[in-house]
């Protein structure tokens, strides 16, 4: 023990400490002299907006990145962690946002993957026994022989956690673990994490959700733009004070919503059925109607058919049966180009793969899909003047952080990429906007702006279909909330009467009276 921290009351000795940890990337400082420590048996939240340097910090601890300066102390001794295997040898485990599992292998095989084994043979028998023991200890129902892709996302996360525990970690880092979970699954995760910490495991819990900090942590460290703002005990905090530390100013949690009379039906789905890429039916008879001046929120955990329904609506996936009507005219079976030309704009969930051309400049990306339409084309040529002024405008109103509109898009951060997509789609003057997770990865301040834009569009008569996993977002914006579960709409609730618990249960597939 070199020093004891007055904040770490009631906890064991300090397990890991960083002093002045700094990491630069081209053009940004991801971590700026961060001092941080975590005690034995503590759950320590790392809170910050996207791009505040949380993940970079964690990945420096896990050996993915080498810090430019500063030092890491493990049990009081200076260590150099140059690779994840170094980290695992010390006893540090990490569960990433994107799971690192082999989809076609079993739970057992995934857990044994990459372990240092003595001798040439795998000792399956003892591994199986250890996994069963760990599952029982934390009350997780896990079949070691289940194949990964058959498991739900929540279960896959448990595989990742078990894998770390199997390695005998003393410090477990979880990077935004609840992003893929239902509220109920999150609750369960929290209670198990608390149990683990009582048994002496230290946990670094990365999040940008204030509720989770309050629910799970012993202490919280807030990062903003790579700098540590403060470390505080969780019983001393309020949501408002945390938000202020995180954003650097007061945050309004609700945007002003005017009452608007909804208009004619715009987009009608009648018994829509389709299959996913594996050929399994994943949208199973959806009837929904989106009206003018309406925001229809579709709540649900990822992977319940939202992506496929979205792709049907934009003409990228074939219907097996049913109809989609726009203004009473069928659009199902039409090409994505002709659907788009009828005034349907869309924000896809995966901006990098589906929304942007990363090698293009910002200006070029701003007209993707409109390059043949009027102001942007003059005769046979692109009209650079119109393109540039449109791009400048979008860049200004969405506060896209880039040197110029001729900057290559691939160099932007996730939030800024999303802003480019939003500026393009909203700027195309649509009559219907389909948005799949439109604010994922955005800063609180920009989310506020996007929400205002959505409400502004709504008051102009646009109908918006909003797919979101973020219940707060759904509740903030929607006039009507439809809950999707395993490809079916379980219920459509008027936003006035919606309550969080009921929607949460529906998202988990529990209907009233069951």
């Amino acid at each position: 023990m070199e020093e004891s921290n007055h904040n770490a009351e009631g906890h064991g000795p300090i397990l890991l400490e960083t002093r002045g940890l700094t990491k630069h990337f081209p053009m940004v400082v991801a971590n700026d002299a961060v001092d941080f420590n975590v005690s034995q048996g503590e759950i320590h939240c790392l809170l910050g907006e996207n791009g505040s340097g949380k993940s970079t910090f964690a990945e420096s601890l896990f050996g993915f990145y080498m810090p430019d300066s500063g030092e890491i102390l493990w049990k009081g001794e200076k260590v150099e962690i140059t690779s994840p295997s170094d980290a695992m040898d010390l006893g540090i485990g990490m569960v990433h946002q994107h799971f690192m599992l082999v989809e076609t292998h079993s739970v057992l095989e995934n857990i044994m993957l990459g372990l240092n084994t003595r001798g040439p043979l795998l000792d399956e028998k003892s591994a199986r026994a250890r996994i069963t023991e760990l599952s029982d200890q934390y009350d997780v129902n896990m079949d070691p022989d289940a194949i990964i892709w058959q498991l739900s996302v929540g279960e896959q996360q448990w595989v990742e956690i078990l894998k770390a525990l199997y390695n005998g970690v003393e410090l477990l880092i979880l990077d935004e673990p609840t992003a893929v979970l239902t509220p109920q699954e999150s609750e369960r995760l929290f209670s198990v994490l608390k149990k683990m910490s009582r048994e002496g495991l230290s946990i670094i819990f990365i999040t940008h959700k204030l509720n989770e900090v309050v629910a799970v942590s012993d202490r919280v460290t807030v990062l903003r733009k790579g700098k540590k703002i403060d470390t505080i005990n969780s019983w001393e905090i309020t949501k408002a004070s945390l938000a202020r530390m995180m954003v650097g100013r007061d945050v309004v949690f609700r945007v002003q919503r005017d009452e608007v009379e909804r208009g004619q039906p715009l987009l009608e789905m009648q018994g829509v059925r389709t299959c996913n890429d594996q050929g399994l039916e994943c949208v199973r008879g959806i009837d929904l109607t989106l009206h003018e001046r309406e925001i229809l929120g579709i709540a649900g955990v990822a992977g319940n058919g939202q992506k496929e329904l979205f792709e049907v609506l934009i003409g990228m996936r074939e219907l097996d049966s049913g109809d989609v009507l726009l203004n009473g005219q069928p659009i199902s079976g039409k090409s994505s180009g002709s659907i788009r030309s009828q005034g349907i704009a869309h924000v896809p969930s995966d901006r990098i793969k589906e929304g942007l051309v990363m090698d293009f400049t910002i200006a070029e990306n701003m007209i993707l899909g409109s390059e043949w339409s009027k102001p942007f084309r003059k005769g046979t040529q692109l009209n650079n003047k119109a393109i540039n002024s449109f791009a400048e405008e979008g860049m200004e109103s969405y506060e896209i952080a880039a040197p110029s509109i001729d900057h290559v898009t691939g160099n932007l951060s996730g939030g800024n990429l999303q802003k480019v997509v939003l500026a393009r789609e909203i700027g195309s003057n649509p009559s219907v906007l389909l948005a799949n997770q439109p604010t994922r990865g955005l800063d609180v301040g920009v989310i506020e702006y996007v929400h205002q834009q959505f409400l502004e569009l709504r008051s102009r008569g646009v109908g918006i279909l909003l797919f979101s996993e973020d219940l707060d977002e759904i509740l903030t914006l929607s006039d009507c909330i439809a809950v999707i579960f395993q490809g079916e709409i379980l219920d459509v609730i008027d936003a006035e009467e919606a309550d969080l618990e009921k929607i949460g249960l529906l998202m988990a597939g529990v209907r009233d009276g069951e």
Binding site: M66, S69, K78, V79, G337, I339, V357, M358, L368, E371
Partner: protein, 362 residues
């Protein structure tokens, strides 16, 4: 790991000053010549003498320069054909077959229209025939891709064989194209009214070179300034996003393969009506494949294709003088070409990284 011990790390570099890029490319080419020279020495020749002979043969007198440009002409076309396909990440290697298809359709049209058309019209028909012949063959590969998802690499390679074998069949029988007064597999000499006009007297440089330069500028403009070029680049970089935004990718593949094939076909009609004045199995000296190297060395930039084609044309042209003066076989030019490509690719790869000291690691 060794680097880490030395407190060094490799980082990606985004922007390299263009001056440094030019210097690196020149160093790369010098290195390529150095290694090629070693090969010449191995085969018993004197490298300095050989390179001097190549240079004299390529640029020694005005007529030699014109000949170099003539050699560059088909390379510009096949290079451009590669540029336009590769920019869209369509890995077509059918330029050789498309070149022959262009030559064959142009020759067919010549046989039909020669008796009835004046020289200017006949030339127009022959030029268009070259484009159309190569273009249709490219379109076939594009259609197979769009309709049945047949891999472009496979279909274009196989079509290369089919087309050249078909030509062989036609050239080996007097019933078809084999010339009346010859027992070699080649056609009779084309009548002079269908020959491409010569640009300078007493040299073999024909109007095809001017057309090629015109096309290079056009391709540059199309890629940079038109919605079609925009779509093509978008598809090359991210086909999924391109589809999501409503662009018909299948149509785009077919159009692009048609244009790419057409450009390669122009090389064929140029060689037949500008250089050989008959159709034979040696109309292309591997120009279709060399065009791929030209395009890669040019970094898929249509204007740079002109310069690189002239450079490669010079080596081809100069090698004839080298062979007669030093006795070294002309096949050494393929060695030089290959090393130039390797040197450029390596210097490219090195350019995007640099080694730097790790400040206070740990």
């Amino acid at each position: 790991m060794m680097l880490k011990a030395l407190r060094l790390e490799i980082v990606k570099v985004r922007d390299v000053h263009w001056g440094i890029q030019v210097i690196l490319v020149i160093l790369g080419i010098l290195a390529a010549f150095f290694v090629s020279g070693w090969f010449i020495a191995l085969s018993g020749g004197n490298p300095a003498e050989a390179f001097a002979a190549i240079f004299r043969g390529a640029f020694g007198e005005p007529r030699k320069v014109y000949d170099t440009l003539m050699r560059a002409t088909p390379l510009i076309f096949t290079g451009l054909a590669t540029v336009i396909a590769f920019r869209a990440k369509i890995w077509s290697i059918g330029q050789e077959g498309q070149l022959y298809a262009g030559a064959m359709l142009a020759y067919t049209l010549y046989r039909i229209f020669q008796p009835m058309l004046d020289r200017p019209l006949l030339l127009l028909v022959v030029v268009l025939g070259g484009f159309l012949g190569g273009g249709l063959l490219g379109l076939l590969a594009g259609w197979l891709k769009a309709r049945f998802n047949v891999d472009i690499i496979i279909s274009t390679v196989l079509l290369n064989y089919i087309v050249t074998t078909m030509l062989l069949f036609l050239l080996y029988d007097h019933k078809y194209w084999m010339g009346a007064e010859t027992y070699y597999p080649r056609t009779d000499t084309i009548t002079k009214d269908a020959w491409f006009p010569i640009i300078f007297e007493d040299a073999r440089l024909h109007m095809g070179f001017l057309i090629a330069v015109g096309f290079a500028i056009t391709v540059y403009w199309v890629l940079k300034r038109t919605p079609y070029g925009y779509d093509l680049r978008a598809m090359g970089s991210n086909p999924v996003a391109t589809m999501f935004k409503g662009i018909d990718v299948n149509k785009l593949i077919m159009v692009t393969m048609f244009i790419s094939g057409g450009l390669a076909g122009m090389a064929g009609s140029g060689e037949v009506f500008g250089v050989h004045h008959n159709v034979n199995m040696a109309v292309s000296a591997g120009y279709g494949y060399t065009g791929i190297i030209v395009a890669m060395v040019s970094e898929l930039n249509p204007l740079v294709v002109i310069l690189v084609s002239i450079f490669f044309g010079a080596i081809i042209n100069g090698s004839v003088v080298m062979a007669t003066q030093t006795g070294i076989h002309t096949s050494i030019i393929f060695v030089i070409q290959a090393f130039v490509l390797l040197a450029i690719l390596i210097s490219r790869a090195l350019m995007s990284y640099r080694i730097r000291r790790v400040p206070h690691a740990g």
